[in-house]
């Protein structure tokens, strides 16, 4: 019998991680004409809200909200020089957002936002979330919150974690006159999960039935809000068609994870990456990396190697704990792939503060990799670990993205900076 050798690929850049940072890095590298390989499990991306935050909260212990993210950035850079944002400038960040939203537009996902200003969307509990770039489906909410026209919030029987009544009541404080209605999902479809619903609404028949069921509730309503189930693969068409059927602007409210909003990004990426020549290894891990004279040799697989990729450069976008970029052990947190030093509290007892909901957050949530200004991770002696190795996204040290509302911006801006640096060196 022949023992087949592993498939081998030679590329410029290996991107490890398929979350937002990894996807952005791959997209931007393709944009710069690099050959790219991409490997990673879906990880957190299925839980994404689809919103692209830049920075909304600083300092977290005060919970101060900012309307102008760049003013917030300046304040953050002054207060927290160890934050990755402190290594970035406004033109770079704006260019990253522009490049990425342009790419999303190309793959069918339109994004909107204000210049230099955060937008507002409704959350599933009826509060306001400030964010920088908003998917087309949620964009109308920004105008809604600002102008408060009479609107209707819709939900469906069986859909868990989403109550139009609760949203109408809570949001009624700043958006008076919100009506709400709960409907059986059109067509009597039984599976009360966002993904089946979203898929069903890509069909014209289902949308028509929905519009028909809604028509008695629309009198005097100038806007209609839905849970974020308006399509997965053809959101542009679904949104436009429903808006036309109802005769009013339509907006989506994110649902609790795992939500369709993350799947849209994931599905569009999964289709777009191979089309753009990226060698993809979705749902695969990089099991081991060897540094070689002119780059890296990566073993890609699940339980054992299934392919080998040789790349001049590597972008590490493996995330923190959920993405398994960082692994907590009894005596500390490690970075498993390269064994890079992790900036972390000195002892496990210091990982968390005494109170779980301490507004200042917990030190462990700022653990991660230290890098130089070009986002190359450093050894303990302060030297870059490898010339062609970059770390981007949430694996970086010094940020608390969930509390600072800066996850997406961090992912995009650091990915952009790393790719630009790598491409510029060629």
């Amino acid at each position: 019998m022949t023992v087949q050798s592993l498939p081998r690929h030679d590329v410029d850049l290996m991107v490890i991680g398929t979350g937002l940072a990894g996807m952005a890095a791959a997209a931007m590298a393709v944009r710069r004409g690099l050959s790219v390989a991409l490997a990673g499990t879906s990880g957190e991306s299925v839980y994404a809200s689809g919103l692209l935050d830049l920075l909304a909260v600083h300092p977290v212990k005060d919970g101060r909200l900012w309307d102008d993210p760049f003013a917030a950035l300046a304040a953050l850079a002054a207060d927290e020089p160890g934050h990755p944002y402190a290594r970035l400038d406004r033109p770079g960040i704006e260019a990253a957002f522009a490049a990425f939203t342009a790419f999303l537009g190309e793959i069918g996902l339109d994004y909107h936002g204000h210049d230099g200003k955060n937008a507002m969307v409704l959350t599933p509990v009826g509060t306001i979330k400030h964010t920088y770039r908003v998917p087309a489906g949620m964009w109308a909410a920004d105008a809604g919150i600002r102008t408060t026209p009479p609107a209707l919030i819709v939900d469906f029987y069986g859909l868990k974690g989403f109550s139009s009544a609760q949203i109408a009541q809570t949001a009624g404080v700043f958006w008076p006159g919100l009506a709400h209605v709960r409907l059986p999902f059109p067509g009597g479809r039984p599976a009360p999960y966002p993904e089946p619903m979203a898929l069903a609404l890509e069909s014209h028949k289902t949308r028509q039935e929905l519009a028909k069921a809604l028509s008695p509730h629309l009198r005097g309503r100038e806007m209609v809000g839905f849970p974020a189930v308006l399509g997965i693969y053809r959101t542009r068409e679904t949104l436009a068609a429903l808006s036309e059927l109802l005769g009013t602007p339509v907006f989506e409210i994110p649902t609790i994870p795992p939500a369709v909003t993350g799947l849209r990004l994931k599905a569009a990426f999964e289709e777009a990456m191979p089309e753009r020549g990226v060698v993809t290894f979705f749902q695969k891990l990089v099991l081991g990396v060897r540094a070689e004279a002119d780059g890296f040799a990566c073993d890609v697989g699940w339980s054992s190697a299934e392919a080998q990729v040789r790349a001049r450069g590597v972008i590490l976008a493996t995330g923190r704990f959920f993405g398994k970029g960082l692994v907590p052990h009894r005596k500390g947190v490690i970075e498993p792939l390269f064994g890079l030093p992790v900036v972390q509290p000195a002892a496990r007892s210091q990982w968390h503060r005494d109170r779980m909901f301490d507004p200042a957050g917990h030190p462990i949530n700022r653990a991660g990799l230290m890098t130089d200004d070009r986002f190359r991770p450093l050894w303990a002696d302060g030297q870059p670990a490898f010339d062609g190795l970059y770390a981007v996204g949430s694996i970086l040290a010094g940020h608390d993205w969930t509390r600072q509302k800066c996850g997406a911006g961090l992912a995009l801006a650091t990915a952009y900076a790393a790719v630009e640096d790598f491409a510029g060196r060629r």
Partner: protein
């Protein structure tokens, strides 16, 4: 009327009656063999209607070839089988036919058609030995195959050995009889009295001496010459023999089996004398007549049914199975009777390893056919256990058509198996998974209490269900449910998706596998593995679902062996479906 004649006529009547009875069932096939919507009794009429002169004329050369090549020469055994198999069966067939027509029916065939026929003259004496030896050779090969070829030993039953033994008895008693006669002084004296009318003591002594030397006959000491046998005495004996015996007796040497046998017999059994010849005669005749009477009731019936089946089989058995015609019930009934239980189909069966693992004999085609024959014979009155086994065997079959291709009797087994699945379902034994699906948690709890799952089905203890690591990372995020194609389907009843994949994982994690088994969804899983592929935590969702189904099957298998299954099957709904 002699005792022999009475027995002969009884046996003939039984044989004829039995044959008529079995053939009548071809013409009026059981309804389990029917083509739905058509009366099975119309099969013959349909077959006759479908015949026309042009068709018959165009088919005649093919039919003639089939008859000559496949049936008489048994050439299909050479094409699809091994040389050994052809040698075995052709020896049996040709040898037995020769004995039957020229020996058993000598008064009807040999004597009228071959003037000067005497059984003790060559070539008849030689041919009889040759035919007998051929049968013996065939029997020997057949016995060795059944005993020493593992795949054939597996499917050999009592009837197979019994049939071999019966034919063996006929042949052995025949040779024994001939040998005993050759060595029998009593026969000599009788013949001498009849055909040497002027007895002279010296002549007789010379003749005895000659036969004792040349024919191996053992005479009582007092009847042989007192002095030493001289060449002159022998020469005289030879002359008398030439004159009086030779017209009806070829030299015994051409009886190349019986003659040596007679020498052995004469030394060993001489004291038995005339009684031995009579005893062997009765043994030979009775075994022949028993075989005749038994012919319609055992596998020997294939002598009639297999040629009919071969002639009836169409050119394209696959097509005939896919679109059974009006005459299909007739072909099916003949096919069921044409099986010789040779076991070739089971040897080549695609799902033989499943039989090795699961052990249900009905998985093998040769055994399933026996069940089906019983089913067609009694209109579905199989015991529930037999029916369950029949159903399991039927549904493990993958319809690969290999058995139909290799069957030496050219039975359209493919057609029969498609019918077997339909019949099993009609009789309340659809594919096991369909039945397991209807069991509610109560049934599974009862089974868990009363019967232990057997390791045979699982081969080893479950590797995933029992291991807490399997589910340790599950965060109940419901991604598996979101990607499930069944959950995405529009317009299906809520009962079909009663428990979702992530809920199933949670049930098993909590040790409630019995509840998981009663979930409709478990049995609706298409095993597409999307859940497992998309799980952000790497949980082997689909593998767990497979293992749950394995567990359900093994529990039911255990219950079936403990005799609980009928009980359960009778009231699946009583403790069953959750609202």
């Amino acid at each position: 009327m002699s005792l022999f004649a009475v027995i002969l006529w009884i046996c003939l009547a039984v044989c004829l009656g039995g044959t008529v009875w079995r053939m009548a069932r071809w013409l009026l096939p059981d309804r389990s063999l029917a083509v739905p919507g058509l009366p099975p009794s119309g099969a013959l009429a349909a077959l006759l209607r479908s015949l026309s002169w042009p068709k018959a004329l165009s088919a005649a050369p093919r039919m003639a070839f089939t008859f000559l090549f496949d049936i008489l020469f048994q050439g299909h055994l050479l094409q699809r089988g091994s040389l050994w198999r052809w040698v075995m069966h052709f020896s049996l067939f040709a040898g037995f036919s020769g004995l039957f027509f020229f020996h058993a029916l000598e008064n009807f065939i040999s004597r009228p058609f071959f003037p000067g026929y005497e059984p003790t003259l060559d070539p008849w004496q030689f041919l009889r030995n040759l035919f007998g030896a051929m049968v013996a050779l065939g029997l020997g090969i057949a016995l060795c195959r059944r005993l020493f070829v593992r795949d054939l030993r597996r499917t050999s039953r009592f009837e197979d050995f019994f049939t071999l033994a019966l034919i063996g008895l006929i042949i052995a008693s025949g040779f024994g009889l001939e040998g005993a006669k050759m060595a029998s002084p009593a026969a000599f004296e009788r013949m001498a009295a009849d055909y040497y009318p002027t007895p002279d003591a010296a002549d007789l002594t010379a003749l005895r001496a000659y036969w004792a030397t040349e024919g191996g006959m053992v005479f009582p000491v007092e009847s042989l010459p007192r002095e030493a046998v001289t060449p002159e005495i022998l020469e005289k004996g030879r002359e008398i023999s030439e004159m009086s015996c030779a017209p009806c007796h070829s030299p015994p040497g051409s009886a190349f089996v019986s003659a040596p046998l007679s020498r052995v017999l004469s030394r060993v059994l001489a004291p038995a004398g005339a009684g031995l010849t009579d005893g062997l005669w009765w043994l030979h005749v009775l075994s022949c007549l028993f075989a005749l009477a038994w012919l319609p009731f055992g596998k020997l019936f294939h002598i009639l049914s297999t040629p009919v089946g071969i002639l009836l089989r169409g050119l394209d058995p696959g097509e005939a199975a896919a679109r059974p015609g009006m005459a299909a019930p007739l072909a099916r009934a003949v096919g069921l009777d044409a099986c010789t239980h040779c076991g070739i189909c089971s040897r080549h069966c695609s799902v033989l390893p499943s039989f090795l693992a699961l052990g249900t004999p009905e998985i093998l085609p040769s055994e399933k056919l026996l069940s089906m024959r019983r089913l067609a014979g009694k209109s579905g009155k199989l015991t529930p256990a037999a029916l369950a086994a029949f159903s399991e065997g039927g549904f493990v079959c993958t319809e690969c058509m290999r058995c139909t291709v290799v069957c030496p009797s050219r039975i359209n087994l493919q057609d029969l198996w498609l019918v077997s699945k339909r019949e099993a379902a009609r009789l309340g034994h659809p594919e096991l998974a369909v039945r397991l699906r209807s069991y509610g948690p109560g049934v599974w709890e009862t089974l868990a209490r009363r019967a232990r799952p057997v390791a045979r089905t699982l081969a080893a203890s479950p590797s995933l269900l029992d291991n807490p690591e399997t589910f340790a990372c599950c965060v109940q995020c419901s991604v598996c449910t979101g990607v499930c194609p069944i959950f995405r389907l529009p317009d299906i009843p809520a009962a079909e998706v009663d428990v979702s994949p992530h809920q199933l994982m949670n049930l098993v994690r909590m040790g409630l596998a019995d509840h998981a088994l009663s979930a409709n969804f478990l049995w609706n899983c298409t095993t597409c593995y999307k859940c497992q592929e998309h799980c952000p935590q790497g949980i082997r969702v689909a593998d767990v679902l497979y293992e749950l189904r394995n567990l359900a099957h093994s529990k039911v298998e255990a219950a079936a062996r403990a005799g609980l299954l009928d009980d359960m099957a009778a009231r699946p709904q009583a403790t069953g479906d959750a609202p």
